[in-house]
Structure formats: structure tokens, C-alpha cells
Subunit: 307 residues, 2 copies
């Protein structure tokens, strides 16, 4: 199982996403818009958020697998939409994403704005399409996803903090990355049959750990190349960055503590070991290569030691 | 009842929208983003789409009034989001909307993009919040709203046709305005307890009538002033416009025929008369003043005669 399980999760995500896009192939739809949306979603990045969602759902017993697949696809569509809009000239003006042209570079600004909008709408439509036999899950799923991406504490709020005259740093960090990881864990628990509240803390710790690792990668210029995006941008754009504030070593120590917290807060469940293994693997994936072997080893030990 | 009913509908819509915005007033939320979103929604325009939705729900028996209120607020938030993004420099570059500064003029382009995104998310969150006791309605509501705003035939598709190298005129018109009116009627039927399929044709005819009236107003420069937006823009921006293609008189005849169809396709229901009255009033509101009294009278007679 431990060999096949990660592959199986990836298949569930890609299958669901492909089915969603098959549904867009209808006569009378504007073709360029559809191409721009595909460009934003395929080929994907690490699909970290939907994989986390399905891992938690599986750990909880995978009670409503169809709903979990829909929530996973929905979450990834929302994440991709945020990347398309973050890359726009009004924000980061990024020309490269996942190693190739960003959507606005490839399709123009107007089409990129619309592709992002359409991906958000598609995310919620997808959620409905995958819960036709479990509609009782929908109010909670809509609430949690809305919180993860919305205007008060979600990724849109996180992006907005970069345009506010006064920045609430804690809220910024949590909203920009943490919120969607939290939504991944909680929607995983809802669709898996677990207690959503009890899983919140894992989402929070894992999300913050991912953000700190990303901040370290951004500082260690070149180290983020495996993410297929430019680095050193936080300093250039004056964005808050933990590794810039504390230094890389202190940031790495903070990261180790977050990873320990994440591992320890995993709820007692049928598949606790499999989830711990999945998290350890993911950490290995998102830790910047440029941290150097000794520091990476130490961090991976922090994860291993907590299992 | 006939005097109080329209006021009651308006109250239901404004109350629901205000409650939704009260929910955004939480500590830690980025304040400018919230202000930009409010600017996009209050004070509103004619609230034509949610009023149509509630009128149909009432005609069907208003079986799930809370769900209808949520769907009405959701629909209006989606409509406002589309206006915010359509006004952006990448599209119409409109500086004025509803008689005052557009969102990007008042808050900057970045904040306008985010406000639009956040309004879309909020629309779906609202739908979930208002259907906690009727979740069985959600899959259909999500499907219909998704179709009304999405990438294949909704308002995002309509806007995208303006950036496609080859335009499907029929699809463009239907998607740009018709789709959301159709969604208003169908979600009204779903939440009111009617048969959604049976109500489709009213939505289609009413939506097209509204678009033709808007096209006429745009051509009769100055006549659209009551909508609080500039006119003569279709010709300037090279956008398809029925009144430009056929001339105002032929467009008005087409409009009369659409209005007759709309009135005749109203399903047998408890409150058929009230709905017909509401439609007649709405037509009186959205017919351009600049059409002149005789032509307006003739069109209103087309509506009256079908009652």
C-alpha cells in the first residue's frame, strides 16, 4: 500500500480535473478562454493541497470518496485561479510560472483575468457536481472553501494585504498560504467522515511550515528553481518573508518546530501511519534543495522523530 | 398586495446583502478590500436579476424563502463582480459606474481585481449559508449559477467573446446578458418549489429583451443615463449591438415580440398575475426614456396585451 497509495491519490486528482475540463468542451464556448484555463491547470505543480486533502480524507476512512475527489479538484482550481491573478501586471507581473509562460504572457491580460474568474466559478460548480448524492456536506464545504479563499482570511485577503497601506503581518502570512492548507485539511476531514474541528491544527501548522519553506527558498536564490518560479522576489517586491526577517538558520529552526507540531497534532485515526508517511514525503519534496544536505537531514529528522 | 409586494422584494434583497456584508466585518480582514467590495454592491442599481428571481420564487409558492433570499443575494454579488471586472482597463476601462467612480478608479486596479474575485467567492459562500436547512437544493443551484456565470455559456464566456479572434454573435449575446437572467428565473423556480425546466423560456426571452433594450439605449446616446453608465460605447468599442445592426425601429419591434413571448411563457402558477404585473413594471423601468413616448407606449401595450 505504501508504494501505490501516493500514485493513487495523484490519479484521483488528475482524473477529476480532466473530467472537469472535458465538461467544458461544448459547442458555443469561447475557445481561447478554455485554452487559457487549461494552461493554468495542466500540467500541474505538486498538487500539494488536493493531495493533502485526499490524504486526510483517507486517514479519516474515506467515507465519501466522490465528494473528496470533487473537493480536491475544486481546491486545486481555486489555487490555480489565484496563481493566474497573482501573476498579473497589477500584482507580481510574473512572466513565468511552472517553468513556462504565465497565462497573461501567453493569452493576454484580459483573457488571464477571465480565466481566473472562470476557474473560481468552475471550482464551486465542480463541488456541486461531485456531491449530488451527498448534498448534506455542501453547506460546510462551501463555508470552509469560502474561508480559505475569501476576503476576510483567505488567499484573496492575503493578496489584498500587499495593497493595503498598513499590513497585519500575521494575518497576511496566514491568509496568503495557511488558509488554503487549512481548508484542504478540514474539507478532507469533512468528506472523509472525520471531525473537522479536530483537524484544524494540522492544517494550520502544515500551511505555515510550507510558507516558511517557501520563504527560505526565495531567499536562497536559485533554490526555488524546482518550483518553476523566480526567486528573490520577496525582497525585490518588499513583501514580508520570515527568512529575510530572522535569517535562514532561525527560519529553519522555526520550520522544524512547525513540522513537529504538524506531526503531533494528527488525530488518532485508522490510517495515521500512512498520513505521517505522506507528510514526511511532502516535506522532503518542498524543503528547498539549496538548504544543503546537513540542514535538510536535520529537518527531515524532526519529522521522522515525531512519528 | 400589489402596492407592497415590490417593496417587500426589494427589502428581502437589501436585507440579505447587508447581512452578508455584516459577516465580512471581522477583525484581521484587510479593510480596503472590504470597502472596495461594498463600493461595488452599495448603493445598488435596479437589482433587476435578484428581483426577477424572487418574483418567480413567489409565483411558484415561495416554498424555501431563505434559500431564495440566499440565491438572490448570490446572483447580485456575481453580477456586481462582473461589472467590477468589465470596467477594468483591460476591458472597457470605464471610470464611471452607477453615476460614480468605478471600483478600479476609486481603489486602484489591483484592489478591483481582488474585489471582483472576492465577490465571486462570497456569492457561493452566501448560497451555502442560506441553504443550511435545504442542502438538497444546492447541487442544482450550483449547476445553474455556474452555467449563468461560467466559461461555456455564462457572463465570463460573454466577456471572453470580446477578446476572441472570431466571435459567435448568438453565443455572445446570450452569454453576456441572457445567461444570468435565465439563471435568475431557474434558481427562482428551484427555491420557490416550481419545475426549473418549465421556466427556462421565460428567462431566455426576458434576458434577450433586456439586452435589446440596453442596445437601443446605447445607440440613442443619452438615453441610458438613468442606468448611470456612459452610452454610445458599443460603436466606440466595436461591440455587437442589435440596434446598430437593424436600426432602432426594427430593434424595437424585435423587443416587442420578445416581451410578448416572455409574458406568454409564464407558467400556470398561484401568483401568475403578480408576476405579470412585476414584469410589466420592470419593462417600464428598463425601456430607454429616449425611445420617445409613442414607441414606449406601443411596447408597453405589447406587454399589457399579453397579460
Amino acid at each position: 500500500m505504501t508504494v501505490l497509495a501516493p500514485l493513487k491519490l495523484t490519479c484521483r486528482i488528475e482524473d477529476s480535473l480532466m473530467k472537469v475540463f472535458d465538461g467544458l468542451e461544448v459547442p458555443g464556448a469561447p475557445p481561447l478562454l478554455g485554452q487559457a484555463m487549461r494552461h493554468a491547470v495542466f500540467p500541474g505543480g505538486a498538487r500539494m493541497r488536493p493531495r493533502l486533502l485526499l490524504s486526510v480524507a483517507r486517514a479519516c476512512g474515506d467515507r465519501h470518496p466522490e465528494a473528496a475527489n470533487g473537493a480536491a479538484a475544486s481546491l486545486e482550481l481555486l489555487h490555480c485561479a489565484s496563481l493566474v491573478h497573482d501573476d498579473l501586471p497589477a500584482f507580481d507581473d510574473a512572466l513565468i510560472r511552472r517553468g513556462r509562460a504565465s497565462v497573461h504572457k501567453a493569452f493576454g491580460e484580459a483573457m488571464a483575468i477571465l480565466a481566473g474568474d472562470a476557474l473560481i466559478v468552475l471550482a464551486f460548480e465542480t463541488l456541486g457536481a461531485y456531491t449530488r448524492v451527498t448534498p448534506q456536506l455542501l453547506p460546510d464545504l462551501l463555508r470552509v472553501l469560502g474561508r480559505g479563499v475569501g476576503a476576510t482570511a483567505g488567499i484573496v485577503a492575503g493578496q489584498a494585504w500587499e495593497s493595503e497601506p498598513q499590513v497585519d503581518l500575521r494575518a497576511y502570512h496566514q491568509a496568503k498560504t495557511g488558509a488554503l492548507f487549512e481548508a484542504a485539511v478540514v474539507t478532507g476531514a469533512i468528506t472523509g467522515g472525520g471531525d473537522p474541528e479536530a483537524w484544524l491544527s494540522l492544517g494550520r501548522a502544515f500551511g505555515e511550515a510550507y510558507q516558511v519553506a517557501d520563504d527560505i527558498a526565495d531567499v536562497l536564490n536559485g533554490g526555488g528553481a524546482h518550483l518553476g518560479k523566480p526567486t528573490g522576489r520577496d525582497a525585490a517586491l518588499g513583501r514580508p518573508n520570515v527568512a529575510l526577517e530572522l535569517g535562514v538558520t532561525a527560519a529553519a529552526e522555526h520550520l522544524a518546530s512547525l513540522l513537529r507540531t504538524a506531526m503531533e497534532t494528527i488525530q488518532p485515526c485508522q490510517e495515521r501511519k500512512a498520513l505521517q508517511l505522506w507528510i514526511a514525503r511532502s516535506v522532503d519534496h518542498f524543503l528547498p534543495k539549496s538548504l544543503g544536505a546537513p540542514m535538510r537531514e536535520q529537518l527531515l529528522e524532526a519529522v521522522q522523530g515525531s512519528r
